[in-house]
Amino acid sequence: MTAHEYAVILVHSTSHAMRAEKVLCDQGIACKMIPVPRHISSDCGVCVRILHQDIDAARRVVEAASVEIESIRPV
């Protein structure tokens, strides 16, 4: 059980976030690019927010597009 509705995918750079957003969108996985939440440290200013329930599917899609994921964090 989780209390989290969303998760954020943290990647290395803004270009990587754009690429992740594009491939998720293409695969019909709901996502939105947002500034990295303040309590999470990341070197890139933006991250991709997804539904918590889509974490596994999103991870597969993003990694298949050769985008390295730093981490996926529930928010």
Binding site: T14, S15, R19, P35, D43, C44, G45, S66
Partner: protein, 384 residues
């Protein structure tokens, strides 16, 4: 005024290009990839959209392997200086621009062995001669897709297959063909594609870049410069992932906005349609010039085997005088001389005098060609 210097840079640009640049300057303005606020994100989106457009145009699978830079020269230097080291051997053609020749001659001084395969006096290249030049230390073949002097197309796909067969990398300089002739990284077996934004992609000057194919180990590519990337900011070492590893410093966001618009215009017209239009103009120009007594046209003389760049000379008149009189008396703008390609002019037999070059592009018309041919005919009469 008729602008026929499109092989140096295309002009005019399609109207959407300046609009996209103005939009960026007036409404976006922020530094792409440097912050998370809405304008920075919008700026990053514009740059990323151009990255995708470039990857799409050249059939490159991963837009993150598109590295933007100031021009094709920077892209060529990045590859040549970043991957070739003393003891390596590299093969190129005698029709290359100095953007390839000068970095190679410097590398040669440092201990890289360089073989320049001779092309025919028409500027064409026999791929079997390239294969014959390959040795145990050969790492790379560097080839322009079309000559900037006479437009002759080189057999990129055939050489690409030879490179694959021998486990070598093919670096293609598509400065003269990108947007004007189909270029497909997969079909043409191109490992490293260096492009300029300001020619037939119709972007502004100051844009260009490199696409790094999947066969290239990018960790071996030594960046030309290191610095801020907006990523890995806690570290004082350069990031090792693309595109950031090779994109230090604030990018040319305004220019890349314009380049994106230029590529969209090319895609809307269709590269094949642009090619058909330019091929017809090129043949009209070649035939028109060849019919003038005293005119020598260089290259293949066959528009199917070249781009819409045509070089010629007029008996009894120096290229510089032809260029000046075309400008002063006929308002026709072209480029004369050696076109930064002494090796190509030596191959064509036009060194050191050079030639007059008419570079046509998608926005030229048959009427432009008729007027230009009539002007040369007038000069030819006066030269005799």
């Amino acid at each position: 005024m008729i602008y026929l210097d499109n092989a140096a840079t295309t002009w005019p640009k399609p109207p959407g290009v300046a609009e996209a640049m103005l939009h960026y300057l007036n409404n976006v303005g922020a530094n792409p990839g440097r912050s998370g606020h809405r304008l920075a994100v919008e700026a990053a989106r514009i740059v990323y959209a151009t990255r995708e457009a470039v990857a799409g145009l050249f059939n490159a699978p991963d837009p993150l392997r598109v590295v933007f830079g100031a021009n094709v020269t920077e892209a060529l230097n990045l590859v040549l200086r970043g991957l070739l080291h003393p003891g390596h051997h590299v093969v190129t053609s005698s029709m290359e621009h100095n953007s390839v020749m000068r970095p190679l001659r410097e590398l040669e001084r440092q201990g890289v062995r360089v073989t320049v395969v001779g092309c025919s006096p028409q500027g064409s290249l026999d791929p079997t001669l390239v294969e014959a030049a390959i040795g145990p230390d050969t790492k790379m073949i560097v080839l322009n897709h079309a000559s900037n002097v006479v437009g002759t197309l080189l057999p990129l796909a055939e050489v690409g297959r030879i490179a694959r067969l021998h486990g070598l990398l093919l670096l293609a300089d598509v400065a003269q063909t990108a947007g004007a002739f189909p270029v497909d990284m997969q079909a043409d077996a191109i490992d490293l594609l260096a492009f300029t934004g300001h020619n037939s992609l119709y972007g502004p000057m100051g844009t260009g870049g490199l696409i790094i194919g999947e066969r290239v180990d990018a960790s071996l590519l030594e960046p030309l410069k290191r610095g801020g990337t907006g990523s890995r900011s806690e570290r004082e070492e350069q990031p090792d992932f693309l595109p950031d590893a090779c994109e230090s410093g604030t990018p040319n966001g305004v220019g890349l906005a314009g380049l994106g618009a230029g590529i969209r215009w090319v895609q809307e017209r269709g590269v094949q349609a642009i090619r058909a239009h330019e091929m017809a103009l090129a043949q009209q120009l070649i035939d028109g010039l060849r019919a003038i007594p005293g005119v020598t046209v260089y290259g293949s003389l066959d528009a199917t085997r070249q781009t819409a760049t045509v070089a010629f000379n007029l008996a009894g008149m120096q290229p510089s005088e032809v260029g000046l009189r075309l400008d002063d008396e006929h308002s026709i703008l072209c480029r004369v001389g050696l076109h930064c390609a002494p090796a190509a002019h030596k191959t064509l037999g036009t060194f050191p005098v050079g030639a007059v070059r008419f570079g046509l592009a998608a926005l030229n018309t048959p009427e432009h060609v008729r007027t230009a041919v009539a002007a040369v005919r007038q000069l030819a009469k006066e030269a005799r």
